[in-house]
Symmetry: C2
Subunit: 413 residues, 2 copies
């Protein structure tokens, strides 16, 4: 893979946000040379063999899921976290079968789990995060919660990297590019605490029975603008460096991921930025001298493929936008002027009455605080939806289970 050079970055404490870089070639072959950043296939492979791809999934069709799976490089481990309907038609069973069949065909292994499985809730509670449970004693709904669950499973595998790919994607080739971009970015970042966030090239939308390739999502524009204002308020220099505030597609080292406090719902993606600013920004006292002595590079990469998915409608977008502003408003590192400007904007948008405060988004302790041994044992014993299809075993070859009970890493936080 060949990326354009990134010349500029903005620093906020230990966090170093790199300007958006474009993908020049999906496959840079055997080329060497200057002027752009080449990540050879072997370097990509080295990262992929240590990478977990978590696919949050809600009510997607079999064909779409199959396509997404086919795009994930073989050496990555797939973890599907579903919150699909389990009514008269149990969509999770269809999804789990789809993953299993794919594993058989491709000779690979995977993990699948359902977010509302009572056994999963019991396991998460036992492992030390009762905050994730709702009044019914089940894991809360929400994308952030699915991502957290996926990260906990990823941590048990002992792999070093985690990437997220939404299941509602019509273009397997773009899934493929996302994974390659994660590997390329993590390779180039060169820090144990790195993050790669994707900005898609364009998003095809239907307008008057024609396709229009929109460059920026409605929600992303607002989120990015306010994250950049947050930075500018500190530096006194206007900036547009953040282009990936709402990036659903992103990856990071698990060393970083396990330290992050994830937010619930759609607040999860912008809150990753805010939590890095809070923990590693140097404004509040850091509890983590290791990270502060290192650095936290955030690479932002613009893919070549359009992001082509189902249209979830306006309500979804408005929700995402306001959740980003809520976390920004309530962050202890957001300066008063930015907070006031957010209030004014939300009132102006009709999202808030004068005198009201934005609601607080739910946030969770770092996944690194979970007791992974307990988590695994409880999942194994109680979570009926917890599956580990192994295509090697199905083909009569030696087992290659994604999680080795004897090798689960100790808690890190």
């Amino acid at each position: 893979m060949r990326l354009a050079d990134s010349f500029r970055s903005e620093r906020f404490g230990a966090v170093r946000i790199h300007e958006l870089q474009r993908v020049i070639e999906l496959d840079s072959g055997t080329s060497v040379g200057a002027g752009s950043q080449i990540v050879p296939a072997e370097a990509l492979r080295a990262i992929e063999s240590q990478m977990v791809i978590v696919v949050p999934c809600m009510n997607e069709t079999r064909t779409v899921i199959e396509g997404v799976l086919s795009g994930i490089p073989h050496d990555c481990l797939i973890i599907l976290v579903s919150n699909s309907d389990r009514g008269p038609v149990d969509r999770y069973e269809i999804e789990a079968q789809t993953v299993e069949q794919f594993c058989r065909l491709a000779g690979r292994s995977a993990i699948t789990v359902h977010q509302k499985d009572p056994g999963v809730a019991a396991a998460i509670k036992a492992a030390g995060m009762p905050e994730m449970l709702d009044d019914d004693g089940l894991i809360r709904n929400g994308k952030g919660e699915a991502m957290l669950l996926g990260m906990a499973l990823a941590a048990m595998t002992g792999r070093r990297y985690i990437g997220y790919v939404d299941a509602d994607n019509y273009v397997p080739g773009s899934v493929h590019e996302y994974c390659k971009v994660y590997a390329a970015g993590l390779h180039l970042a060169g820090s144990p605490y790195s993050m790669v966030r994707i900005s898609w090239h364009s998003k095809p939308k239907l307008r008057d029975n024609r396709l229009f390739f929109s460059r920026r999502g409605r929600s992303s524009q607002i989120t990015n603008e306010w994250l950049n204002r947050f930075l500018a308020e500190y530096s006194d220099f206007g900036t547009e460096v953040i282009a990936t505030g709402n990036a659903g597609e992103h990856a990071m080292t698990l060393d970083l991921g396990l330290k992050l406090r994830l937010a619930g719902g759609f607040a999860v993606e912008p809150y990753e930025y805010m939590d890095m600013f809070e923990q590693f920004g140097g404004v509040l006292e850091s509890t983590d001298p290791d990270v502060m002595a290192s650095s936290v590079p955030v690479l932002q990469i613009e893919t070549r493929n359009p992001h082509f998915h189902d249209n979830k409608g306006e309500e979804h977008v408005q929700g995402m936008r306001m959740q980003a502003l809520n976390v920004l408003y309530h962050s202890p590192v957001t300066l008063p002027a930015t907070r006031q400007a957010i209030l004014d904007f939300m009132v102006e948008q009709g999202a808030l009455e004068v005198g009201q405060e934005p609601p607080r988004e739910r946030t969770y302790p770092p996944v690194g605080t979970l007791d992974l041994d307990l988590l695994y044992d409880a999942l194994d014993a109680e979570a009926l939806s917890f599956r580990q299809p192994d295509g090697q075993v199905m083909a009569g070859l030696p087992a290659s289970p994604p999680i080795d009970r004897a090798q689960i890493p100790r808690r890190v936080a």
Copy 2:
């Protein structure tokens, strides 16, 4: 890349048409194993470094062309054959600049040429194919003509494989998959006379402001049905083996390509089948004992990505459909019963009056009959649109021109 096994094939003389195979994984990584066909990255690379990708282009936007180029693996050589408007806005100049800029960024070389360049016409005529010129003394319009020109240029490079990718493609990842499928198929086919034809997974279409993922093109259905009837008339067994009669996306060894007589316009793709049946089907006496002693495998591969391009309208489709039937009708190896059935069908479709014959499509001698030395010298001297941008030279590195005048292969046919 991992492909599903192909168990069945149908033979017609030396031509062996393999049943459609699906892509299981775009990237099969370091895996080994049975049950499916794995082509490792190094094997793909070996083919790519000997492959030319010809991109026929007509009035596409810069962004779309850039995307297509970015999806073509680095080690493939790009040849853009344009028939774009050169009016007050010279679209070819924009295209050539786009290719040049891409070559500079990616450190690779390419060839571009315009189909209506008088210098190109003069060169083709000098090289021995005056049939390609129209009454104005220019190369005829038509996709087949662009493909032929691309193949002649490819032959001059001394590379061993040629693949075609249409420029009107919105998904760089699908271009990438096409090229990888070409390489995988040509690797697996294992004959110096091989062809790989692509059947795309689906084609997104707009219907009532919604997207519908159509599985089969309207024109392809008809073409495939009649090609299969052609085969069945010989074997007395109905068959559905041919699924790629109109495949615009296809690749072959140049050893095969240089022997084929290409048809003009949109007849080119179905006529490749018919010409193989005529030359290597064992019905007519073959002039080529080499090929007959070998075999001509045709691999048909279903990609994972949707084929997502601009809608060219109904007229285009009807034209393609009838051109396929014209070549089938007039082929000396089509049996009388099939010919009669084609006539009846065309009359029924309103494409023909009772008592009329279908028109003959134009066909050309094999590209292997061209004098490539003469062709190169004339292009170099007279064709103003003939460019060979070299990203290596632009970066101050040693030149890597696509064509080495001293190494142009001798004519083969």
